[in-house]
Amino acid sequence: MSFLLVQALSGLATAATLFLVSSGLTIVFGVTRIVNFAHGSFYMVGAYAGWSLIERFGGTPAGFWGSVAAAALAMGVLGAAMEIGLLRRLYRSPELFQLLGTFGVVLVVQDLTAWAWGPEDLLGRRAPGLKGSIDILDQPFPLYDLVLIGLGPLVLGLLWLLFNRTRWGTLVRAATQDREMTSALGVDPARLFTGVLFLGCALAGLGGALQVPRESVTLQMDMAIVVEAFVVVVVGGMGSLTGAFLASLLIGQLQAFGILVFPQITLVIVFLFMAVVLVLRPHGLLGRAEEVPPTAPATVTVPLSAGRHAGPWALALLALLAAAPLVAGDYALILLTEVVILALFAASLHLLIGLGGLVSFGHAAWFGLGAYGSALLVKHLGAPMPLALAGAPVLAGLGALVAGWFCVRRSGLYFAMLTLAFAQIVWSIAFQWYAVTGGDNGILGVWPPAWAAGKATYYWLTLGLCGGALWLLRRAAFAPFGYALRAGRDSGLRAESVGIDVRRFQWMAFVLAGTAAGLAGGLYAFAKGSVFPTLLAVPQSVDALVMVLMGGIQTVAGPLAGALVFHLLESEVMSLTDWWRLVLGLIIVALVLVFPKGIVGFLSGIRRRA
């Protein structure tokens, strides 16, 4: 009994931190309609800054709490700077650009933090005066956690007062509803939004700095917390503070007791919970069924066209690629093999984004599922390569069939969050189910048999399979299936009124894209000889998005060009520096701000103007 109580209390302490961070995220989303991926970075840097300050001044209670406050304020200032430098230019962009742009910031901040504080985990000192524990029903419980538990409701109350009892709060709520009208009444929305980012990021920084006495400060805490905060915000209802509070409490308890019941799948429980909540209450626990946030008028200014000479060009390109082994060495062939695989991966995502208008933030799930499918068939069943390769798209397609049923129920940001959740579920399984997947050691020794072991042979095999899959995807894009998908993208309501079951087409597209990505994953496993959970992780999903974005969303050829450029950048430029995250992050931010139409879109834009 007493043990359960203590477990519940420690769940409450977790919930308090989770609420601090997710309240900031939900406030920023409520006002700016941007899901700020970099929110976790402010939490992480807040923890690092807090650690440094506490090491220096944290010997006394005043010094400790002053350090925490200073770290929070510093994160607020950084957040305001990010609003002015980046977010302000993204308010009218499609959500893909907002998610990617802020993810670019995540990468940049990771490297800058590693540069400033070093790669080692840091252990902070405990809070002076709160080092001990008290007995609760004969079970010891840390005093500091008790303080945290009280802090959650306190912050909720203060935020409520701020938004409901001050002029600033009233203006923010007004701007949340109608930005233009608010500015017509003499309020400068830009300054208001800068203030909101200050507040949101300060809350993240506060949550981070408060963690210093509880756990070590690491370079991984940004992604870990932001994904959890996404879940909290989505479960609570995006933009709802009370909802975030409630969701934090529920998820805190879920984690505290989940670890007792299913220690193997603690990570999965949270995401399953989110998926269930979203199916039962599509707008979250306390979210309101308001209209889908008006993101930019779809970026589609130039309709996708089949291109008059696409066929001959594609054949010429295929012939050229097929002839590559005559001149290229082994290294170049390995590189080309990977480019071809990634091109299929990117093209499968492009099917969802470009045709369906469905921004998936977890497309790596199907790529990784394909890779793991092949690897598991080889490792546990001793399957020959052709069978293992055939299993990859099947497993990925089945996974996408299940996940897609949930995901296509929602559009826009909720769709992105749901796909992210499913990718995290698959990732958690690969990461935690040691006995079968090998956890983070991965599965090694997934090599092609002797007949396909030659670099040229495997390259030709890859080219043939990917080329065929790409041709099918392209066929689908210009078949009635593709038209129906595009109709649903441009106007779901109108498409339905002419008899198109939009949701069913989106589901089919989701499965098709997942299957294609799975094939790419299977080929990738044999090309690399091994699989790791990173193949399913968020950065892999982002890589695919960057390839699509680099190539340009509005062209079918875009993903191919994007895959080529991206992979060359990755293997030839970024491998030369330890700071590849910084480079990649800056590339992403630049892409989002300067070349929103991608490489191919940019080139054809020039051609059209000429």
Partner: protein, 237 residues
């Protein structure tokens, strides 16, 4: 004669690539009520939005109270004393009546009547009874009154009033006209867009008639009421 409070000349405006206004010209004198008239789609709403800086626009002259507005964003224009009342009653539905008024509040300004919630509640008695009510639970007429009251909280010297009588019950239309007259008596200048000739004739001193984004006729309201030819050409449906 002193400079008019608002001078607009050669006003062009766009929605994306669509060219909506092409050379609108008009003036509003101090203490004057001017009706901007024209058929549906003539560009009345866009003219008001363009003055307010809410659409992409360019103008040969866009002066208010001696200041050039053409490079200013909406919130700066509002702070100079231009009050904008949209046609579609964009009240903040999640905010109470009092909070809606608070959003509009700006410091008092010399040469313009100064408003407080109490003064506005006296002008619009209906609103006084629902101070704590949220915008979602108000009728169309009440919302229209609140939109006007909210803009007045900014103590404007010029009011841009977009289609004040649209979609309102006849009794409320009368109250609206009465309110506009009271505001004129307080010293406010008003530029209102209107399709209803009767509403305009009750409140306006002058009329400015536009069609397909171009100015067509301007003169005293009484003259417009007497000129069947102009009315038939540009206003009759």
């Amino acid at each position: 004669m002193s400079e008019p409070l608002l001078t607009v000349d050669g006003l062009q405006a766009w929605y994306g690539r669509a060219h909506i206004l092409d050379g609108i010209a008009l003036t509003v004198g101090r203490g004057e009520v001017v009706a901007l008239m024209g058929r549906n789609g003539a560009g009345k709403t866009t003219t008001l939005k363009a003055i307010m800086g809410l659409v992409e626009r360019r103008a040969a002259t866009l002066r208010f109270d001696g200041r050039d507005l053409s490079a200013l964003p909406a919130h700066r224009i509002a702070r100079l004393g231009v009050g904008y009342v949209p046609e579609d009653r964009r009240i903040f539905a999640d905010l109470t009546v009092e909070e809606n008024l608070e959003v509009g509040r700006q410091p008092p300004r010399p040469g313009a009547p100064a408003w407080t919630p109490e003064k506005l509640f006296a002008l619009f008695p209906n609103l006084a009874e629902m101070r704590g009510r949220r915008g979602t639970r108000m009728s169309g007429g009440e919302q229209q009154m609140l939109t006007l009251a909210r803009t007045l909280m900014g103590n404007p010297s010029l009011l841009l009033l977009d289609e004040p009588s649209e979609g309102l019950a006849p009794l409320i239309v009368k109250q609206m006209a009465e309110a506009v007259r009271r505001l004129k008596a307080e010293g406010l200048s008003v530029l209102l867009s209107e399709q209803s000739l009767s509403f305009a004739s009750w409140v306006a001193d002058r009329a400015c008639v536009i069609e397909t984004g171009r100015p067509r006729w301007t003169g005293p309201m009484t003259e417009l009421m007497a000129d069947d030819g102009v009315r038939a050409a540009y206003l009759a449906v």
